[in-house]
């Protein structure tokens, strides 16, 4: 005997369905209207700056082998969405673009003359978030990579490009780029003969600017009181060129000294470009230490609680793919930049959106002849159609 579903039950089933269809997964979002067009304008702006410095746009696969990202990113790769291919191999939605670019440089582009200048605008996906502010699981990176050049000039080129993008976005008054060289820390860790765990502990104390704990930590090692005091101050302060002089006063191991010299060279370059107002030296920036090998930088913009970009030198990454060569790159977070510009309401990037001419008429092909004419002249038009709401 059949038992037909009562009408109100069917209603409930329908409601459940529509609820499921209307929601979107955590960490995903829509862009519409002004925010969407502003986002497009920010992307175009960055890509045209990259193009202006002769960076060639590349498009990398969205789905790739998980092993690629594990090699490229280490433990960070485990944040990726993973699934299996039909032959059972583990795939991932890319959590990072640099790994793919490094592999392409070592394989597909191996015979190209160096240096390679590559750029991209592409979404990355991360299943698990690291922090509250990083709620997005899909975010778009605007990035460039300069592969096969080791000089300070290559480092400076990256910083100049990042600064130009921010200036062109109208953020020249509100951005700040901090620079550091991870070899300063590596030299100190080497001199103190830290084991893996102690090195991680010291890195964390510096990264969270926990000066008091850091002094206590260094007590246990062969350090002078003066060294401990200055060093804990150094990790707390960021500043201009004087930071390097202050550091040279207490840091004497050759590895760190070489890094301080390199940092100073980059700083002098920044000064000569007239950018020293918006740059800071921050010896306490030690994120992603196992990935970067020299200069590192972070980009902050007023109005957003998180950084909008980061970059650095990664001279060991391409070696994972069979060809060791120096490389440096950076990414800007398109969603973060868009958010800042939407919130500040300062942007003029999307002004054209509100300008269009309406073409209406008695429903005939005349409308489209007129439309084609205006389009050929480059005008923005809108055909007036009757709304289906009025049917």
């Amino acid at each position: 005997m059949t038992n037909p579903l009562p009408a109100n039950n069917r209603q409930r089933v329908f409601c459940f369905m529509s609820d499921h269809l209307s929601k979107i997964p955590n960490g995903m979002r829509y862009y519409t209207g002004a925010a969407a067009s502003l986002r497009r304008a920010v992307e175009d702006c960055a890509m045209s700056v990259f193009d202006g410095w002769s960076f060639e746009e590349v498009i990398m696969p969205t789905v790739d082998y998980f092993a690629l990202f594990e090699r490229g990113m280490g433990a960070e790769a485990h944040r990726a969405f993973r699934f299996t291919d039909s032959d059972g191999s583990l795939l991932a939605l890319r959590p990072d673009i640099t790994s793919s670019v490094a592999r392409a440089a070592a394989t597909l582009l191996a015979d190209r003359p160096r240096p390679l200048r590559l750029s991209y605008a592409a979404p990355v996906y991360r299943q698990s978030q690291k922090s509250q502010t990083e709620w997005r699981r899909e975010s778009t990176q605007l990035g460039c990579e300069l592969i096969g050049a080791r000089s300070d000039l290559a480092d400076l080129e990256m910083l100049a490009i990042a600064a130009e993008v921010l200036q062109r976005l109208g953020l020249e008054e509100s951005y700040c780029i901090t620079i550091n060289n991870v070899e300063v820390f590596n030299g100190i860790a080497e001199r103190l003969e830290l084991n893996e765990a102690a090195r991680a502990r010291m890195r964390a104390l510096i990264d969270t600017r926990d000066g008091v704990e850091l002094q206590r930590f260094m007590d246990a090692y062969d350090t002078t009181a003066e060294e401990r005091k200055v060093f804990s101050r150094l990790t707390r302060l960021s500043g201009k060129r004087e930071i390097i002089d202050l550091a040279r006063g207490v840091i004497t191991n050759p590895r760190s000294v070489a890094a301080l010299d390199a940092l100073e060279t980059v700083w002098l370059g920044i000064e000569s470009l007239g950018l020293s107002k918006t740059f800071e030296i921050d010896l306490g920036d030690l994120a992603a230490l196992d990935y970067y090998t020299g200069l590192v930088f972070k980009i902050y913009v007023d109005g957003l609680g998180a950084r909008v970009g980061r970059g650095g030198r990664y001279d060991h990454l391409t070696e994972n793919f069979g060809r060791a060569e120096p490389a440096i790159g950076f990414v800007l977070d398109l969603d973060g930049l868009t958010e800042v510009l939407v919130r500040s309401g300062r942007s003029r990037l999307d002004e054209h959106v509100s300008r269009y001419s309406v073409i209406k008429g008695p429903g005939s092909e005349d409308i489209f002849r007129e439309a084609a004419k205006r389009r050929a002249a480059g005008e923005r038009i809108r055909i007036e159609l009757q709304s289906s709401d009025q049917d």
Binding site: Q132, T133, T208, R209, E280, Y300, G305, A306
Partner: protein, 216 residues
Amino acid sequence: MLTIAIAKGRLQGEALALLARAGVRASEMALTTRRLAIEDESGEYRFVFVKPADVPVYVEHGIADCGVVGRDVLLESEPDLLLPLELGIGRVRLVVAAQNENLPGDAGILRVATKFPRVAAAHFAAKGIPVEMIQLSGSVELAPQLGLADCIVDLVETGRTLSENGLTIVEEIAESTGRLVVNRASYQLKAAAIARLIDALSEAVKAVKSETQTKQ
């Protein structure tokens, strides 16, 4: 202007007193109102009063540039923040407590009632003890008495509430004091103002410390 998020309740009074010592003073009148956001006398700072667990949320988003909150909250939520200063206020201990000094050893699984499920899970995982986590939002001390749990993980100040509910401390997991936390972006973008605040607060902390030492 710097916005400082302050954990309401246990830490609030001591935090305001320490800030006042560091020269950041909210007027008495403003404090007696029930407003949750007030400015200090100089107009350089704004205080917002929020629940302890919400302090890291406000600061991580950069809505507040910095905050004053107990280490216990930070251990539980593991926010991505800078921790430049320990303030030495609101000292409490995070402990395991049970009706006996020893935890039941061979129960197969240990039932733990707590407001700190992450800290508790990490603690017992490190010891290789499998646990059933029972998350409560208050009066945790009741749980063993009523048979809901074998032990609790909770904050202890004097130990009175524990003993009045027939519990003894089995072991200490961590000590917690008030911390100054700072947003990563604010730290760079408002570097001068934040450095001033950190220096003034660290002087105030030192002064309080030396006073209590001379008293003893």
